[in-house]
Symmetry: D2
Subunit: 444 residues, 4 copies
């Protein structure tokens, strides 16, 4: 066995890659990455080349012996990998634009992760992930898969339900963003804050918040109840919480919760944004164009500061910290997507959840919370069922299963709208789903 | 101990009472009701008198020795009762009209059981039920409470959570109506149909349907998928199910499910009805007026056929069958609201559910189903949390608890609307709820 | 489809068969058995012939058109069966004698169902049952399997864990015997008694006892606390309960519980009996000889009364009632072995339990009890784990799995004794189990 | 608020105290103990004085400003404490000797924690703990109680079941001893080993063992299967595991498991030891005498090495590490006794378990394991029920509850022996338990 770590990044041509590279450079002492393989599809070859060259300049400047390998041959890359990270975007931003635009026509938020858009992103993404896993079973059976590709919760669920692979961790920067947000609210350094995270991806709550280990949830809630002060992410409008509502809830919601607790306002906001500046997908397309222009500059040998606008703040930190803790068996606490194993009582034991875990060489081990607070159990259960049925639809390509997923999504107001949106989206994405009726193996 | 059974009906002046009386008359051989006490409040004295006289004429005509006792003194009535049935309407139909009208102004369905209207009906009803229970603990500790008063699920939950009384059964005519509807769809006699009911009150599903014991769910679903054929109740518009949706769901929904799966259409329907013929409360007020006119006729000595229009079809059958099975330990199967005890896995063991039970002298014993089908777990969980938090608000009269219940109701689209509707309804009903902040003992 | 029911009895040459035949004759009006196929193995051909002729005389005398078919070809019999009952004894009484004798040498009770003997009976029986199921999947996929063969709990567990067949009910006469015993204790007719049964096969408890639907557990416990009055079965010594113990337990134990709560006394009793009159197997061998002599009498055309001594009292009633209720969808309550589905919280949902069920055409549906009383959860869990691991050993023929089952059995006092008994029994039964070490797929 | 930490040790006159003092001295930089209060009862005054003087000499020699306060007034000590540790021995070693001697007469191991002896130790200890908690609620409501007093599992269970106090951690040196034992087996430094602990106090298993984060359970099992090599504690005989058994189990048992998996051999060992050198209590009495003689030496200013023989190895490390991690919110992993909260599926959520936890300022948070391996669920459940019923008996002083606890203990072979042992022990300890019959509130 060679010294050092081999990491493979599927979707390596993404504009996010410099984040990752920077993270590995910073941690080189504890996490000696020998080879970083960036893999992409032929359509992404040019971006891969651009990003790859930047990565090489960054590594060179840092003066560390990390080899950057670029390839379109995923199987070549996967051979003997130690960690595989996935950050590809199936269908690229064009597909995302459809995921967002079509539902809007029906008065419904697209929401590219837990909404109708997320259903379609899952339908595109899950078969690829399961394909990667089949390769990993053959080529690097000891490796861990660290998935960033959204919808990360649905993808993790799909892997648990539709493969025998268990060495997967789903990762998201929402929890770390919430921690940063709380630190800002309280005007303290982030490392003094800790939060008991539990829920699902993009549906995670802070059950308790601590400053230097002492509970300060009530203080944080008090600050959130001032409508002039919010806490959100680059890609989600901050409309403030209804002060009495946030006091009634007495939990720290995540930015995505606005889609469910402020559905009307969020819809109006999205509709207006789509009309004025384009949907989020369209904004991102523009941003990406600008970023790649910067990346092409042969003088650039660091991550450009403009990347942070892109919405993926802290991704690098989250991902590299996770890999570091796994590689070095650090047994520290990080919120990730993993198998429930009883940590949340009302979610099935073998479903994916997002929760604080002890991160070990043997994977994440979830900290038991008993059950979610009563007020949020229903919404969380609803999204969990949505993820589970959607992941089944991705595998079976059954029309009724997909319709069921669409219908039970909390953003979709009726059976008829569900069908209309589904039909138009299937058509727009060129997907051919079958009506099997009684035959299908719907989860019960 | 005297021979025969003493039954007390709280809200005895209701227009439904002749249904009950007819039921007891029909079953006199197996269920010898010695005394039927009809109790009401002073405001209902006139109706009580009218209904009571009709009841006496019915009994006399039937030639059975059942004594009809009328009183405004609940405690006098409760003494040594064997069964207490509750069918009172707290705040009468005026209150219901507010429950329905106010949400409509905000674009929200009032829904007098599981919607915003149901929250307020619960806030009015639960303290009275808990008061009745305190009397029963003292005056008839061996009696069973059979509750028909809506929201029946929330009321049963409240009794389990906020009293030590366990001898309560919540009863609803929705399941029996579904059975009748299926029989009609299949054009067979109702007694040949059986249905595996599970869920919550007004949120119950038929998991399987049997004809002569053989599974026929797919056949029933096939018929429901023809949009010209529906299955509903007198008081709920039948808009037909989206054929592909009902095939995707492959469960028998109850009529109230339309509020959740067809929210927009139902809202439009309610709004139009309210504008044209008044809300359901207003329609019922009219119907009741007509009924009482009939009841006053001293020649009338049977239940008048017009009563069936009223919406409570089969109530009599459901209630009298239940009491009969309990009194005679028949151990037959009936769907009622009772304590979960593990019958539905993802609902807390000590919560109220509506489920097929074996009816015994020792109360109903729920038949275990494992868990609800994945697609409906979220919605059911959401209503269960709503019922639980609402019942806590009814007891604590805490503003934020009430707001939380309102906010998590699936019919309410945002935190801000929740607050607006709550505030206007609290005002309209003259309720004074307190903001306690951190002090309140919210269920977690 | 032909009119009437086709029933197949595997192990049809058993001395119990006249019980069954009598039962079917009595119920012919509601349960029209067209053909009763008695199947046995070549070694049992003579007994099969004897019993079959007696059955034919019984049917003829009763004047009903039930055809008795005798065959050694199981597959011929299974074709298009409606119900298959299994009552064979793998290895016959010789094997049972070993199951009982060998443990005794090590100071351990053999106990042919939940003890070391039961482990070996399971190892012999389970492969045959799984074989029958493979035939049924092909030849009568709509039929129900009603299993009487012991260890009935372990067999049912094995079918749930190691096949996809779900249409199995495990049946035992212990619960009906307990009901008869209580009736005798209270000196009332058995039909006035009902009992809430829950637990495992031969490890079932009466949680409550009712007389005419009214709870009388305390009265029954009071009577059991009189040491001169017990309640047991023909094949289990009645040593009386320690009065204070039974009052402390406040549950109705089954006769087999004596093996666990009175281990020493039971051991002494068995040892002495084995020395004086032979083990139970040997006593039964003698009894069977006498019975078959009676059966051969061509004048005999009814079940001879001597059969009741044999230990299977009420088997006929239990089996025929079950088939009757299933065939006619009677939806009455009977205690059987079925899948848990959440009915007992601390037992896995997909494990076999013995519990009161509603008996329907679609199979038994367990009545939820919440959880077993705290004092008995451990013992029940221990036997459940024993059954589960033993059933895995029967399928994998893995030495360490079999040893684990033996070691965790509550009757076996140490790791070393477990190994000694296992080794001698494997040898005596000519079984060849493999040591696979880390490879084996032990349930976790 | 004063700087530094105030710690109160109830049972401060114990021979173990120098362990604790040494631990606090070593960690003074991170864990600045301002005052260490040693509390004892009048009967222990002399020992308290001796130990207290030694502690003062130790602190002085270490040159740190930690004040050692000695008192017989518990309430004075508790005022404003930050941590309270309990290490008292109710009834002293005389009582323990009875706990061990009496069962032996009946052929039963006394086992002072999870056996009949443990029941009586619990009956003596629990009321005192609940008394201390009542004082803490008043005098130091923010403090944490760290309980070392055995039976630590039963005591923690009692606090959860019979008080509203939640700030308790039960601590034992068995897990750390197992870690040391594994390190020795593998001949590596202990800090390279980590173990997934789960179970109950003195009934804890290592589910997985890691060396530098990599799974090595099979290697450890392989070594344990060599009968010449064991892993145990000072106070438990090491008889070696049956090699095939330990390979079948494939879990790391704790030393106390020998009492359950090797009952006969352990009994013989204990009986012989009792005859030759006295029971463990008697051996300890002798050891203590010698230790106190050493402690009296005014020249002694360090923990004497002889203390390690005493059986409490690593107690100091376990206790001081725990307090350090809590005080400094270190969020590291330690195995302690805490509330389940779903971490182990088949144990009630609100029961005490011993499990790996993240140790925070807000207390320990258990890591979810799903469920215990099937083979050990029964035994663990049995001890859990024993602990739960025993703790109820300690509070209610009900005879039948105590008898039930005794009867279901896996070391007790029959109802009759249970009663005999109970009666003799109640008599010997001068305890007066009441027979309440149906009245008692037995957990169900
Ligand atoms: Mn994310
Ligand atoms: Mn209703
Ligand atoms: Mn049996
Ligand atoms: Mn210990």
């Amino acid at each position: 066995m060679k010294e050092g770590i081999k990491i493979v990044t599927v979707g390596g041509g993404s504009s996010y890659t410099p984040e990752l590279v920077e993270g590995f450079i910073k941690r080189y002492d504890s996490l000696p990455v020998r080879e970083l393989w960036l893999v992409d599809i032929p359509k992404g070859e040019k971006k891969l080349e651009t990003v790859g060259q930047l990565a090489r300049r960054m590594v060179e400047k840092a003066g560390i012996p990390m080899e950057i390998c670029l390839t379109l041959d995923r199987r070549e890359a996967l051979k003997d990998a130690d960690f595989v990270t996935t950050q590809f975007r199936a269908g690229l931003l064009d597909a995302r634009a459809k995921d967002e635009r079509i539902p809007l026509k029906y008065g419904v938020i697209g929401q590219e992760t837990n909404g109708p858009g997320g259903l379609f992103k899952g339908l595109r993404t899950i078969p690829i992930i399961l394909d990667i896993i089949r390769d990993m079973e053959e080529l690097c059976p000891e490796a861990w898969l660290i998935n960033f590709t959204n919808p990360a919760g649905m993808v993790t669920e799909a892997v648990f339900r539709h493969s025998n692979w268990r060495k997967i961790v789903g990762l998201c920067n929402v929890p770390i963003g919430m921690k940063m947000g709380v630190a800002e609210l309280l005007d303290v350094k982030p490392e003094r804050i800790s939060i008991d995270f539990a829920g699902l991806n993009h549906m995670v709550y802070g059950l308790n918040v601590y400053l230097d280990g002492k509970p300060v949830l009530d203080e944080v809630i008090g600050k959130l109840a001032h409508p002039d002060k919010g806490m959100t992410m680059k890609n989600i409008a901050d409309l403030g919480w209804e002060p009495d509502f946030i006091q009634a809830l007495r939990l720290l919601p995540c930015p995505y919760h606005r889609y469910y607790y402020q559905t009307e306002k969020m819809f109006e906001e999205e509709k207006q944004a789509a009309a004025e500046s384009g949907t989020r997908a369209e904004v991102v397309q523009q941003l990406e164009g600008e970023l790649f222009k910067l990346y092409e500059d042969p003088e650039l040998a660091v991550k450009p500061p403009q990347l942070e606008k892109r919405g993926g703040a802290f991704y690098s930190d989250a991902a590299c910290s996770l890999i570091d803790s796994m590689y070095n068996d650090l047994q520290d606490i990080q919120p990730v997507n993993t198998m429930n194993r009883g940590a949340i009582a009302s979610i099935p034991d073998d479903s994916a959840i997002e929760i604080n875990c002890v991160i070990t060489k043997d994977g994440p081990k979830p900290i038991a919370i008993g059950d979610l607070p009563v007020p949020v159990r229903g919404l969380v259960q609803q999204i969990k069922s949505f993820e589970r049925i959607a992941s089944e639809a991705a595998v079976t390509k059954d029309y009724h299963t997909a319709l069921l997923a669409m219908s039970i999504n909390p953003l979709v107001p009726s059976d008829t709208k569900a069908k209309q949106i589904l039909d138009e989206m299937l058509e727009a994405h060129g997907l051919d789903f079958v009506k099997r009726g009684g035959e299908r193996t719907l989860v019960k």
